[in-house]
Symmetry: C2
Subunit: 345 residues, 2 copies
Amino acid sequence: MTTFAIAVDLGGTNLRIAAIDDKGKTLDKITTSTEVARGRDLVIDEMCAAIQEIVVKLRGAGELAGIGIGVPGIIEMQTGMLHESPNLPGWENYPVRDEIERRLKTTVVLENDANAAALGEKWLGAGATVDDMVMLTLGTGVGGGIVLNGKIWHGMTGMAGEPGHINVEPDGHPCNCGSRGCLEQIASATAIKRMATEAVASGNAPHMAQAMKASPEFSSKAIYDLAMQGDPQAQAIFQRVGNALGTVLADLVNIFNIPMYVIGGGVASAWEAFAPAMMEKVRKNSFVYRATAPATNTPGGNAQSGAGRASIITPALLGSDAGLIGAARLPMISNQTTSNQKTSS
Amino acid sequence: MTTFAIAVDLGGTNLRIAAIDDKGKTLDKITTSTEVARGRDLVIDEMCAAIQEIVVKLRGAGELAGIGIGVPGIIEMQTGMLHESPNLPGWENYPVRDEIERRLKTTVVLENDANAAALGEKWLGAGATVDDMVMLTLGTGVGGGIVLNGKIWHGMTGMAGEPGHINVEPDGHPCNCGSRGCLEQIASATAIKRMATEAVASGNAPHMAQAMKASPEFSSKAIYDLAMQGDPQAQAIFQRVGNALGTVLADLVNIFNIPMYVIGGGVASAWEAFAPAMMEKVRKNSFVYRATAPATNTPGGNAQSGAGRASIITPALLGSDAGLIGAARLPMISNQTTSNQKTSS
């Protein structure tokens, strides 16, 4: 009999739930209309109801390993509580894991959403051939997940893996974290829109000004389209994104010397616009990269081609499903994922 | 019967050898006059002779666990060969480990010298109470060693742990590694002397100019003395050192979220001159640090006071013996230290 897990992606806006078996096959999938903004208790009620519905439907189809939940916030692994989660007001210092375990009578594992995405890419995506990888998720912010020896590296308080807050421009744009010029202030969708708005305000970006006037939903995608059409101001923005990503990737390669660095999140689909500058910067800044680089860095290239000795920098493969797939993996390996978490508290 | 190991510190200039037991007690110690510049074969002959002399002297005093050798270069852990070692010409692509094992008929473990120093501080120094730490060694260059779960993190080709080449000043001073503005170009003894020379050349550093004229061996120590006497130009140099160290430490805290960051090497003795700027920068740049910082960062403070949840930034405790002590530890734990090294090649 196969084993399956229930995966929950508790996003900042909606709730997605899937049943995924231990081969990675999706058995069932629900995107609820539950608005997370309607409050914790309602979300937990509806989540539990939806999970029970799936479990009943799949009765006899396999053995339930447990429930994995990806959450936008910092998780206390020992207690299963959130201790910082700006997008989920009311969830802090509430025993999320224990409450859901109590209601559904099965193992529940919480994980930060960017860590869950890294675990998903490690299991079934870009990192499937390696044991060690770092993932950067370029979305509204820049998240990260570090997988070492096949396990998420949590650090002592679950706050490890924040490459989005590596310093890139010493006197750069202020960041919500309190610093300035963090990667997140250059390579997130939010930052790309901000840089475009600044360029339009400067009066030197006529095409972007036009696009911004034409579309009220002016997005980083629109700026990407302009860059691909040859607009120099839009290209300059993605050049800056590429330089910032390259600087941080070079730092990470010099620190970890591991085989794979994966870039996911919505902005990763602008790969063609930022990757040339990014790769040039990595090659220039990291002697470790130059010593371990494949002759050509083909996105999705086979990390094993260099006999496990090549540094591959590659786009993520699972798109917005990475977090859900990684969440399913959590209860399947739950005895491992917390191994570097101190048990004292 | 106690176990002991022979530790070898194969520096860029001299050779130091010690016998250290598994409690960390030094049983014997030799600093040979062997000049490493006289060539590989001579150094290996004299090293083996000195080791045999110690082993004969200690016969009956304990069981020999093996020989650990700290080397300034990048080690191929599988083959026991150096694959990049600018300070040891002629040693590359030579089977160092196998040759010494063949001659002395005991286990030999090679390790990069900065990694050996980190392991020494982890065993008997600043990191003795923690499992996870990063060490920065501020000397002629800036080396580093990363200890995760009690073991050196080598990465896939032994090149991990190079925080000296994290980018700090995007358009800064060119670095030997090919990049610009690496930590090493600001926080090494070499960089401090360069910045002092630049200040003197600018004509705005009268006290440093005087000191430089008075002493042909004008060193980073002399600049430190001036800073402590209140010379503003010397203070500005150590402020810049502190800012650079703080920027990199904040990056490392945001990546690893581990309890201890240790600063060693000769420049660490200028702690009083650079630490205030360093700590201010770490606190400003790293939200993870602020969440995990002890109320006051006492150098050498007890990392366990925060129940294993405080980020401590502290000077190394073992001085120039760290590398020798760590080298002794290598054969004692040799089944562990290579665990994250891929066995494929």
